[in-house]
């Protein structure tokens, strides 16, 4: 194993988020260390996706702060998060349906584009050179995810499992340092899940990418993650390595609905 879990890179402190009267998250704190695979689990509506949305600035929490590599963000926004090297996939695939696989992945390179509109309009000098450079990078991602055969297919025509893979590819094309995965295996069959697990572990291992993962398949979560956070009704009820979480009575009652 080349990866070695390092310092804390992402630290969330007392994050609270509400929509009107609905409290989605209440005073949640946890941290993510460099190169680790950190899972967030919890029953439906526990606030897992909201948590990811807070991390990359889609939602603004009313309270709390996010400390990313020592830098304090009280107001994160998606653009800043992307610049800071956070990328993500979505629970209900959010690919650009009208574009093909290559173009979807090329959008992931957007922040690295330096040429301006005029240069692009004439396909001139820097614009042309950049297109070729980024295409080469995108092809590396395509090779990595083994989707060479569909590179020119419009993503709307792809089956669900492959769309999930392209969604991961788009996030990887950003060359993120932190990758947020929102239920990467939802709705997949066993083989597709195995493939996806392999890709996640390979990303983590080969590129050293820190991964924050939401997943419902407990076998997968317990198997691949280093540490697990458990949320229920917007509150943190457990945090620790998979074994500790598995044996935590609060977690068991939240999942099995034992009488309180």
């Amino acid at each position: 194993m080349s990866r070695q879990i390092g310092e804390v890179v992402l630290d969330l402190k007392q994050v609270s988020l509400s929509f009107g009267g609905v409290k989605a998250l209440t005073g949640i704190s946890f941290d993510v260390r460099e190169h680790e695979i950190r899972a967030i689990i919890g029953p439906n509506g526990a606030g897992k996706s909201s948590m990811l949305n807070v991390i990359n600035g889609v939602y603004r929490p009313q309270e709390g702060e996010i400390i990313l590599r020592g830098q304090r963000f009280t107001k994160m926004n998606p653009y800043k998060a992307a610049q800071a090297g956070i990328s993500r996939t979505f629970q209900n695939i959010a690919l650009f349906k009208g574009m093909n696989v290559i173009d979807n992945l090329m959008t992931g390179r957007n922040l690295k584009i330096r040429s301006n509109l005029i240069q692009q309009a004439f396909w001139w000098g820097p614009a042309r050179r950049e297109e070729l450079e980024h295409r080469a990078k995108v092809e590396e991602v395509i090779d990595f995810l083994e989707i060479q055969h569909i590179r020119k297919t419009p993503v709307g025509r792809l089956p669900y499992g492959l769309q999930k893979r392209v969604d991961l590819g788009r996030a990887l094309a950003m060359e993120p340092s932190i990758l947020l995965l929102d239920e990467p295996m939802a709705g997949m069959n066993v083989e597709e899940k195995q493939d996806m697990c392999r890709f996640i572990l390979d990303v983590n291992d080969q590129f050293g990418t820190t991964i924050v993962l939401i997943e419902h398949d407990m076998a997968v979560v317990m198997d691949i993650s280093d540490r697990v956070v458990v949320l229920d009704y917007g509150k943190k009820i457990g945090d620790g390595d998979p074994d500790a979480v598995r044996n935590n009575p609060d977690v068991i009652s939240a999942y099995l609905g034992a009488s309180h």
Binding site: V58, A81, F96, M99, L132, R135
Partner: protein, 358 residues
């Protein structure tokens, strides 16, 4: 049989990313350009130029602009006519107020002014979308109608806003007969179409399409909606404004605000919907459909009437023209909601496999 790409292997990304990666397509586009620039001038009479070809070329340019905004960036607009008007009147003011201003520069400055106005009227798109945005852009239409009728400065104090230009020339080349007008507009259209294609296949085009397809995901990936939307408004209005300036200067030569009424805005929107949203090719198909079909019907109906021994009155013809035209639009939208461009690409896909069905 002829349309096969067997054996055309790409060995570099540059070869794979060219506009027409298939050899037959490259020959076809060269053929079309030669036909348009060389053969058409030899074959066609003045009436064809004035009634069909020049309007077709200029409206294709405008449709390209509208397609960039509506088709590629997904921001619906009903203000295209307004931006044409801004382009035309701005070019006019540059032309008469600045001594010795070259024609081409006036036209492009007209386009740039339209781009600036487009950005202003694009600001609502940051807050509202869909039909609400359409209504917001409709405001541009009524605003420009009013400005060019009521503020005499813009029309050089001409009554009822009617202005005219004459003695058009580019570096000594007189643009005074229909043939030269056609060639001038066609040259501009060719350059602009190439620009549109280049933009839509590079980073800026991907930003527009990302905003169109899934704006939340686009933001997360580092695309700023403000820049993407307003740049689409700017580029679109630049195209539409330049087309407006050509429409005024070259096609009409003297015009009043009514030339760029809300009807024009609707016409341009229909062109891109029928031609194919998000397709460069579709803009041309749409312009051809809207410009050529009514004239073709007008010529054809009396002939058909003669054939079956019925004489149709002039009023009857113009009514029938509208009925059939409307019917065809409905038919097309039901049979192929993605426009003629989709029919075209489906046809090409079938041709590549022919004679096999799959």
């Amino acid at each position: 049989m002829l349309y096969r790409e067997n054996g055309q292997f790409k060995t570099s990304y540059a070869a794979d990313q060219q506009i027409f990666p298939i050899t037959q397509d490259r020959w076809a586009i060269i053929g079309i350009l030669v036909f348009a620039f060389v053969a058409v001038p030899l074959l066609v009479d003045e009436y064809m130029f004035r009634a069909i070809l020049i309007p077709f070329v200029i409206l294709s340019l405008a449709a390209l602009g509208v397609n960039i905004l509506v088709g590629f960036c997904g921001q619906i607009t009903l203000g295209a006519g307004a931006f044409m008007a801004v382009g035309a009147y701005a070019a006019y003011n540059f032309h008469i107020r600045v001594e010795g201003m070259p024609l081409l520069v006036s036209l492009l400055l007209g386009g740039l002014t339209a781009a600036a106005v487009g950005i202003v009227f694009g600001i609502p798109s940051l807050r509202v979308r869909g039909l609400y945005l359409a209504v917001a852009t409709l405001a541009a239409q009524f605003f420009t109608d009013w400005v060019f009728l009521r503020v005499p400065w813009f029309t050089d104090n001409a009554s009822s806003g009617s202005v005219s230009v004459s003695n058009l020339q580019v570096m000594g080349w007189q643009i005074n007969n229909p043939l030269n007008k056609y060639l001038f507009c066609l040259a501009i259209l060719t350059v602009f179409a190439l620009m549109a294609k280049n933009m839509t296949r590079s980073a800026i085009g991907r930003q527009w399409m990302a905003i169109r397809d899934m704006d939340v995901a686009a933001e997360v990936i580092g695309i700023r909606p403000l820049f993407a939307k307003l740049s689409a408004f700017a580029v679109s209005s630049f195209f539409v404004g330049t087309a407006g300036a050509l429409w005024g200067f070259v096609h009409l030569a003297s015009w009043e605000p009514a030339a760029f009424s809300v009807d024009r805005s609707f016409q341009l929107l229909f062109m891109v919907i029928i031609g194919g949203l998000g397709s460069i090719m579709g803009s041309f198909f749409g312009a051809a459909f809207i410009v050529v079909l009514p004239i073709a019907l007008n010529q054809l109906l009396p002939a058909i009437g003669d054939l079956v021994g019925v004489e149709i009155s002039t009023a009857g013809i113009s009514h029938a023209e509208l009925i059939i035209f409307g019917g065809l639009i409905v038919f097309f939208l039901i049979k192929e909601p993605h426009g003629i461009a989709r029919l075209w690409s489906t046809g090409k896909e079938k041709l590549r496999l022919w004679p096999f069905p799959h």
